[in-house]
């Protein structure tokens, strides 16, 4: 029977059929972070259980740590308590911790693939909705809440219902200025923020095959903004080459066995998807969001929508509320909208390729004087790799602040925030009301688009900034 990539990972991980459509699913890896990890480990013990398989659990502080240059774990005092808890519980339970400033530390969905903790064909969970990012290497990865995290730590399994299967194919080659971020934003804009609810999404097609692993991680990262807990890209030679030699990737004979197993993972030619969608790459231009849901997105050449043109009353109300919050004029071109902040970072777009793409736009240019521009590398390794290439200097010379790894302004849980009313072009994943700070106005875009906005001091078309 033909099977999809998703089935080929899900089915062998079913420990028991629980009836009524439920399966007990084995979780090969668990990632925990400072916001909920310490407490989850503590609660397992308080409930009278032990951490089932501490060697399969990996911890990193990222959410509530300062990104300020020269930061320590004490710089953000509220976060310091969380980190202290994570350190204590990780030590007690024997969980590996990649502590602040240490090699391997970083945003949980950056460091996981980077260290080879997450592998093709494995299952991974984490108490963070962007766990879907890790599907970019061909893993089955999804985000869970605090109670499910406690459950998986105590049992190494989770009762789950099998989601339906969806495929989104991107065919053709990327037009100028179009990055993986633009691909996925365009898909969310076209199909809607709830279009993936109840599905595991596989991204396929020639344009996906052409992407680097970093690009595939970005693509999968926004699956949850389409409603899908799971996003995946089939492993191929690009994946295998990228993973080889990483810290927790298999070695020697085990590596050879792994590669053989991974070659069998891609969806069979005649595999059937419950929903199959197609996007022609020629239809995608660089994207920018205008509203407070990722589905409220435009090509950079577009105009701010007019609620009068909304398809129904519910959408009209949503558009009006979004426009009021964002301070935008219906019908006006989005390009040229004045920007106060630019943030390059997050589990979406903080990897080395993202930083290279932004730096390429910045070279020989300078950030507009009224713009505060931050770049927050995704991990210690990304930071050091970027510094070795001189990217930090390129950012600094252009007027960006070069900061320390963490989630920072994507989630504003670390005492850092975009001020009320300020407009920020951000490479992160959510433009929700208040996400980057109370009253902050977020426009999601690719790293190159963010760099272009920083230079122009306004929302700009990266294609006018060719290196």
């Amino acid at each position: 029977m033909p099977a999809t990539l998703f089935d080929k990972i899900w089915d062998p991980h079913v420990v028991a059929d629980l009836g009524a459509g439920w399966s007990l699913l084995y979780c090969d890896r668990v990632l925990v972070h400072d916001l909920s990890g310490g407490r989850a480990l503590q609660e397992v013990g308080e409930a009278g259980y032990a951490v089932a398989r501490p060697e399969l659990v990996f911890a990193t502080p990222d959410h509530a740590v300062s990104s300020a240059p020269g930061r320590t774990s004490e710089t953000f005092p509220t976060g310091a308590k969380l980190l202290a808890g994570l350190r204590r519980r990780a030590a007690e339970t024997g969980v590996r911790l990649f502590d602040l400033g240490q090699d391997g530390n970083g945003i949980v969905h950056v460091m996981g693939p980077e260290l080879g903790i997450v592998l093709p064909g494995t299952t991974l969970v984490c108490g963070d909705s962007h766990t879907c990012t890790n599907g970019g290497v061909g893993a089955l990865a999804f985000g869970i809440g605090a109670s499910e995290l406690k459950h998986v730590l105590a049992t190494q399994t989770l009762p789950q219902r099998k989601p339906k299967r969806m495929r989104v194919r991107f065919e053709g080659s990327a037009p100028e200025g179009v990055t993986p971020k633009d691909m996925i934003l365009a898909a969310i804009g076209r199909f809607g923020a709830a279009s993936g609810t109840g599905y595991a999404v596989e991204y396929a097609g020639s344009a996906v095959r052409a992407l680097s692993v970093e690009g595939r991680l970005t693509l999968c990262n926004l699956s949850i903004e389409m409603g899908a807990k799971i996003g995946m890209v089939a492993p191929d030679e690009t994946t295998i080459e990228w993973l080889k030699g990483r810290d927790f990737a298999p070695k020697g004979a085990a590596w050879e066995a792994a590669v053989a197993a991974w070659h069998a993972l891609p969806s069979d030619e005649d595999a059937v998807f419950d929903r199959d969608l197609l996007i022609d790459m020629r239809d995608i231009a660089p994207q920018i969001t205008w509203g407070t849901s990722p589905e409220q997105v435009l090509p950079i050449t577009g105009n701010v929508p007019d609620p009068a043109d909304a398809p129904d009353a519910e959408k009209r109300g949503a558009w009006e509320a979004a426009l009021a919050y964002m301070g935008l004029t219906p019908g006006a071109p989005i390009i040229g909208t004045k920007v106060d902040w630019v943030f390059i970072g997050s589990c979406t777009n903080s990897r080395i390729e993202d930083l290279r793409a932004a730096a390429a736009v910045l070279r020989g240019r300078h950030v507009a004087s009224h713009v505060t521009a931050w770049v927050v590398p995704g991990s210690e390794r990304v930071k050091h790799a970027a510094e070795a290439e001189g990217l930090d200097a390129a950012f600094r010379e252009a007027g960006f602040e070069w900061r320390e790894p963490g989630c920072a302004l994507c989630v504003a849980a670390n005492g850092e925030a975009v001020p009320p009313g300020a407009r920020c072009v951000s490479t992160s994943n959510r433009n929700f009301v208040g996400r980057q700070g109370t009253g902050a106005r977020t426009h999601l875009a690719s790293p190159a688009m963010a760099a272009a906005a920083a230079i122009a001091g306004a929302i700009a078309d990266v294609r006018h900034f060719a290196a």
């Binding site: 062998p12 420990v15 028991a16 629980l18 009524a20 459509g21 439920w22 007990l24 084995y26 916001l35 407490r39 259980y49 060697e55 509530a64 976060g79 308590k81 969380l82 064909g121 494995t122 108490g127 909705s129 985000g143 869970i144 809440g145 605090a146 109670s147 499910e148 406690k150 459950h151 105590a154 049992t155 399994t157 009762p159 989601p163 923020a193 709830a194 609810t197 109840g198 949850i224 903004e225 409603g227 807990k229 298999p250 085990a254 066995a257 792994a258 197993a261 849901s293 589905e295 519910e314 959408k315 109300g317 949503a318 989630v411 849980a413 929700f432 009301v433 208040g434 996400r435 109370t438």
Partner: protein, 208 residues
């Protein structure tokens, strides 16, 4: 976990689409706090004026909905972040059931973990309950009866709803998921032993 059997009260309408978990509870309220005490911060960016006073235009501040145990919501309610604090905050406000045309997947699961019942109903049914409630200015109650799997509208119509059989049992009995799963301990260990032999590559490099 809290049991859920039957709740009754005025159903509060907040019917906009895509209400995300950042809107339900800002992350700053979840940094270093526990599961309790979050009720005052639920929807805080809509619920309060800048000076901290109640925003009289926010629907959940209307007197008839202040103690409502049932929230009527729009499509894709609870989308976004996996923060379980969104459920804790809603429960802290007194809600025990949310009725919506669709939910964010992770939020939907998180509800069941805490004795909160999320129910998927067609948009027009939710609109009808909202209209009937509003017509009676909140004086007529909606009933959510899990055992019978019906919602009784303010005017007395019985609307059946679907609920996952496993989740229904867990809610009615207040069962502990972990204890239930550990009944399969032998099979979990057996699965691992077999997989360790079949896929050594998945395990060797993380073993100590």
């Amino acid at each position: 976990m809290d049991k859920f059997t039957r709740v009754s009260g005025a159903a509060a309408p907040m019917l906009r689409a895509n209400v995300d978990t950042d809107v339900i509870i800002p992350i700053q309220r979840l940094v270093g706090t526990g599961r309790t005490g979050l009720g005052p911060y639920a929807f805080e960016r809509m619920r309060y004026n800048k000076d901290g006073s109640d925003n009289p235009d926010f629907v959940l501040n209307l007197p008839q909905y202040r103690d409502s145990p049932i929230l009527l919501a729009g499509p894709n309610f609870g989308c976004g972040s996996s923060r379980e604090g969104a459920v804790w905050a809603l429960m802290g406000m007194g809600f025990r059931a949310v009725l919506a045309p669709s939910f964010g997947d992770i939020f939907f699961n998180n509800c069941f973990q805490n004795g909160m019942l999320p129910i998927v109903l067609p948009e027009e049914v939710i609109g009808r309950i909202a209209a009937e409630t509003e017509a009676a200015q909140g004086a007529r109650h909606t009933v959510v009866d899990l055992a019978r799997q019906v919602v009784v509208t303010p005017e007395g119509a019985e609307i059946p709803f679907a609920v996952d059989a496993r989740k229904k049992e867990a809610l009615l009995e207040g069962l502990d998921d972990i204890a239930l799963t550990l009944r399969f301990k032998d099979r979990i260990d057996g699965w691992y032993a077999a997989d360790r032999a079949a896929r050594p590559w998945a395990w060797e490099s993380v073993e100590r």
